[in-house]
Structures are given as structure tokens and as C-alpha cells.
Symmetry: C2
Subunit: 231 residues, 2 copies
DNA sequence: AATATAATTTAACCATGGTTAAATTATACC
DNA sequence: GGTATAATTTAACCATGGTTAAATTATATT
């Protein structure tokens, strides 16, 4: 049964579900059973069961047949895991030379198994960083978290000059492709054309132009670029 | 149920049992049910059950009411985990400044959750090391492992000049105490006196003398020191 | 060689986190 | 407002890895 380490109060499964609920409810307020099941790659029945279990443990609030949402206690656990995840991602990138498409999978496994000691040491070594390699905010030690920055690239219009602040971390293939197009955090680009019927978006990056599909563009989060970025 | 990652064929429990069998059988050839239960901090019944399971999976050979021993396949898995464990220990020590009494507990948790990629990267970063912070040999990538070096300090006799090659890694308190006495890997010491009836051993380290009990001395592995160590 | 004791195994049970199939509830449409 | 469809929940089941108590086997002693 692999007993929980002394520092851990809940099982890895509970941690994973709570984290997933946090990430899903960021976009939608509350989370449905089937959204959660899809994210966890299990059946809706398993999702229901876990929601029941989480609610009994006061990590979530649930009204039957409607969504689930994290309680303050649940949010705390989610933020702890997300802090682990994003610190580990950045550590792998900075200290071990991982590419940005490789860090998520490794962090996914390690996030449940590091000690507070390890967390503190890599946090210090990275000089208390605020964002991970995909531009997602890292919760502080006090579990305060900055809002996610940027709006989806496919919401912007031709003529806009934009800076990339964040990318969705979930899809390694997409990340590799973006890197290949030299679309990284901080990259400045201009929208040349947006074809109708959800057609491709044409961009200018430096001297080059590329076309990317709407779906990929939805993974890239940008804001208007003004010469001196306000801090 | 936390599905196994793509790189892992067996559960964390199986890995832990197999590793424990490896470590126990180093000293004793084969391992009894209750030795294994004690090491795993479970009941003998649980130990029996797992032995049955391991044997069905051809990781061990078992004759009922007698000991269990690893098959070649089991040994391979044990060495993979031990390689992970010892590389991680050394990495924590060298790259993150962990003390030698802190590395075991952290490595215990991480050893099951790193990828081949991670293993390869820290191995390279550490320049393909051969021993961990306690002087235990690290299996190579091909899973070849050097014999453990040194004989227990309490086997040596007054007058012997010795060098510390290895310490038992299991007991953080003992490790802290040894460090406090400046007994580290490579430390040279001379046995002044060995009191009868399993009494303390008096040592000279540099200009200082200390007395340590037999039990602690059993955790320290040494060899005769000759000016130029043969390589 | 018989027997007391210790070690091992088996049996019956539990919790966790999955599954599929059936029942229930919500919702969208006419 | 009733009904088809979709979503959710429940029920019955499974595997893993634990537990304690009882049965079995090994061993040590006389």
C-alpha cells in the first residue's frame, strides 16, 4: 500500500484530483464530473466516487448532479502541489537543461514526492522565482498566486503587436512546434492576417512570417506590446 | 490507483520489496519472511503474500518455509532502483548541499519516480560517479556493481591505522554523530584501545581521541591504511 | 524420536481506487 | 409542460497491499 510519507496528509490520488479541480475551475468556476474524469483519464463513475470522498474530507463542496469546487482547505492543497510542480519544472529547465516540452511530464511524477526541504532548497537556488518555463505563476511559500497573464493569441486582431507571456504546458508536441517557430516566452510578434472560418493566423516574428492554426494559437497567451513593458 | 508511468513495469511496492531483498541477501545469501517484514515495516503475513506475488512474476525464487532470493530479473530491478537511489543521494549532496544524514530519506521517495532521462542527466552532471555519499557503490548504467568496500571497524584491533571507506546509511542520528566526531569518508584513524565485553573502542583522529560504542563502530567500514592508497 | 517453540503460511477481512452496467436526474427541444 | 438525450450517480465487481488470528511447518531440546 506504500504508506504516505510523514509530510503528506492525503494520498497521491487525492492530490492529483484536487490539483486537476483547481486547474479546471480556473476557467469555469466549478467543475463537472465528466470534465474531471476526462482530465484524470478515468471513468465518470470513478470521478463521482472521488468527489464524494473529497467532499467527505472537506476538500471540496459538491451539490449532487451539479459541479464540484474546492474548499479553502482543498485550494491550499492544490496550491502546494502546483507550487511543487512549477518549481520542479523551472528547476529541471534551469539546473538540468530540460527543454520546455520535457519538464511537465517529469514534474508530474516528482511533485508528490519531494520534501519541504527539497522545495525550499530549489526555491532558494532559483532565487524565489515567480513563473515557470511556460509563464505560469508559481505560488509563493505562503501559497499566494499571481493571476495568469495574457489573452489567447487567437483573440487578437491583424495589426496588433504582441508579446508572448504564457503557453499552455500540457502538449509537448505543440511546445516543440512553437519552439521551432521561435515562439518562446518574451517573443514579440505581429499579426498580419487572420483568415475567416477559423482559418490560420499569419504572424511576423523578426523578419520571418508563419501561419499557425487557431487551435495552436489558443495555446499561446499574449498581451499588447509597448516598447517599455510596464512593471 | 495512480497508474504506473510508461517507464515502470512494476508497482512501487514491488520495487521496494525487491530492493529490500537485494540489500538483505547481500549479507545472508537468502532472506527470511520475517527479516523482510521487519525491513518493510509490515507483518510477516504481508511479506509472505508479496513473496508469493514476486515469485509468480519470476522476480524471486522461493521454497516454502525457507528463504527467498532474487532471480536474475529481480536483481536487475533491484539494481535499477539502487542506482536511482544512490545517484539521487549523491546529487542531493553535491548539487543541493544536503548533508549525508539527509540524503537517504529524500532519495527513498524519489527513487521510484525519476525517468531514465533524469537518471542520465544527473549521472552526466556528476561525471558518472562510482560511489554515493556513504561510500556505497553505484551500479553502472549497465547495472554492474562493484563490491562494497571495507570491514566493520569493530573487527579491527588496537594499533591498526585505518581509513574510513563506507558507513551504513540507514541511521541519520548515527550519521550526524559520526560527522560530529569528524569521522567522514576518507578519515584516517588509529585504534588505541578496545575494551573487553563489547566495551567502547578508543580512537585517535588527528590529535583528538574519542571513544565510541561497538554498535556505532559496526556501522563504520574501514580498511588498513597504507600511505599511498593502491588504486 | 517426541515435543515445545518459533517461523511461516493461510484465511478472512479491510481500504483504496479502479471498472462496467443500470438507475436516476438534469436539460434541451418540440 | 412532456419527453428524448445527456450527464451523473449507484451498484456490483476487481486488484493491490495491508491487517489479525488460526493453522501449519521447521527447529531445537531433551
Amino acid at each position: 500500500m506504500v504508506q504516505d510519507s510523514s509530510e503528506r496528509l492525503f494520498s497521491q490520488s487525492v492530490e492529483d484530483y484536487v490539483k486537476s479541480i483547481y486547474l479546471l475551475q480556473q476557467d469555469s468556476g466549478s467543475v463537472t464530473t465528466s470534465e474531471l474524469a476526462k482530465k484524470m483519464k478515468t471513468s465518470p463513475a470513478a470521478s463521482t466516487k472521488m468527489i464524494k470522498h473529497l467532499t467527505e474530507n472537506r476538500l471540496t463542496e459538491h451539490t449532487r448532479y451539479h459541479g464540484v469546487r474546492l474548499s479553502p482547505a482543498g485550494e491550499k492543497i492544490a496550491l502546494e502541489i502546483i507550487r511543487h510542480h512549477r518549481l520542479i519544472e523551472l528547476y529541471l529547465h534551469q539546473a538540468l537543461g530540460y527543454e520546455w516540452d520535457e519538464v511537465d511530464a517529469e514534474a508530474e511524477k516528482l511533485e508528490h514526492h519531494i520534501s519541504e526541504e527539497f522545495e525550499a532548497r530549489i526555491d532558494k537556488m532559483l532565487d524565489y522565482p515567480l513563473t515557470d518555463p511556460h509563464g505560469d505563476p508559481i505560488p509563493t511559500r505562503e501559497l499566494e498566486i499571481a493571476p495568469r497573464r495574457g489573452a489567447p493569441l487567437d483573440n487578437s486582431e491583424p495589426g496588433d503587436t504582441l508579446i508572448i507571456l504564457r503557453v499552455r504546458d500540457s502538449n509537448p508536441e505543440a511546445l516543440r512546434y512553437l519552439k521551432h517557430l521561435e515562439m518562446r516566452l518574451g517573443t514579440i510578434l505581429k499579426i498580419i492576417e487572420k483568415q475567416p472560418f477559423n482559418g490560420p493566423i499569419t504572424l511576423k516574428i523578426g523578419e520571418k512570417t508563419h501561419s499557425i492554426g487557431r487551435e495552436l494559437a489558443g495555446h499561446v497567451f499574449v498581451e499588447r506590446y509597448v516598447r517599455e513593458v510596464v512593471d
